[in-house]
Subunit: 155 residues, 3 copies
């Protein structure tokens, strides 16, 4: 059996979690676009003040930080600090042949943790709530990284 | 035939597109360095105001945001929001054995879209032009993520 | 022998370097958390000003940029601009079967360069010192990307 094929249920779990992570990261870009268009503010570049289909009513303060838009950018940044680490740690984890139950718990746990983190961030829950889900996701990736190192060293 | 070998033309297309993406992301760092040195501004850390080989004429306003330099940083951020998603979605896409023509269209299409996005951003084209190329690249990655999920679920 | 298995010493070197990169990126998040809690400043979202376990003494200026905390965020951003590129370039590099000695030099060299970059950044060494280690890491990733392209084209 090939390790990186859908016949391997550990790889299938990884493929689902990693693909959902892809949709989360790309979707966050679209949440920023949606919010930017909705409030017609939070633009990033001077040329975005030109009148056009996107910006029908230009005004200089559209380049200032707008919390509604910037919140989506902060969510995106937090994703980029955590999800690519999962992508590579998860792939390496698959390649060192972990137990299936452990792979499923960690991978679906990561998806759940990041989903709840996004929900908490978007709805302005307290720092404690957001930090809890961040911690869960981060510890999963750190565990997978350590597991891989251990497997190589004891290999 | 091994899926992840150069004998597989789907993998070869991915390897070309992913490696070009690597050169784009790393090259963007060097564009920032080039612009920072050219205008001697847009530094990021207080210690960068020490006189030295990089900064021969220190001045406090060198830490302020400089659009010429910051534009390259914004291009870099946009890359990081899109290209790592392509790297993992593309790899998973290869592993679920898509048709060759589809893989080539999507992968070279992504490279083209991101190249044109960079050109539009660097030359300050309108938000509409930049958004068009962003959208094309983003939809390609989103499609690949959905294709992978569908392949796993229908296994 | 499977290319992506621990029986392949080139893959083993990659797995060690990539996993250390994962721990570096995730650890940088925790350095930000540690610094934020230590100085009780540098928060990112308005709701972080609510009193709670994390923030026992809220004050409006806690949302301002704090260099001690922001330094860790800048280190994180620099990691994200370099380490994911290594993850994918390194994986592709393994898949085109480079000489073992070259793979080990590049992969452990990257880990060393990024470790020294982090040390130089955290301890506020001069821009020249930081730039030297950045350059070394960046050139390694760029070399691996070119090597992969060359292998595909001459494949």
């Amino acid at each position: 059996m090939d390790t990186l094929s859908l016949d391997n249920p550990v790889f299938a779990a990884y493929a689902i979690a990693a693909a959902l992570g892809v949709l989360k990261v790309m979707g966050q870009g679209w949440m920023t676009v949606y919010r930017m268009l909705k409030v017609n503010a939070g633009y990033a570049s001077p040329e975005d003040l030109q009148a056009g289909l996107i910006n029908r009513a230009p005004a200089p303060d559209q380049l200032e930080v707008n919390d509604y838009v910037d919140r989506s950018r902060r969510m995106h940044r937090n994703d980029l600090e955590n999800i690519p680490g999962f992508w590579v740690a998860g792939l390496l984890f698959v390649l060192v042949s972990p137990p299936l139950w452990l792979a499923q718990v960690l991978m679906y746990g990561f998806v759940l943790a990041r989903g709840l983190h996004a929900l908490a961030y978007a709805t302005k829950r307290s720092h404690e709530v957001r930090a809890t889900f961040y911690t869960l996701g981060s510890l999963i990736v750190i565990y997978m990284g350590c597991h891989v190192l251990w497997a190589v060293v004891t290999g």
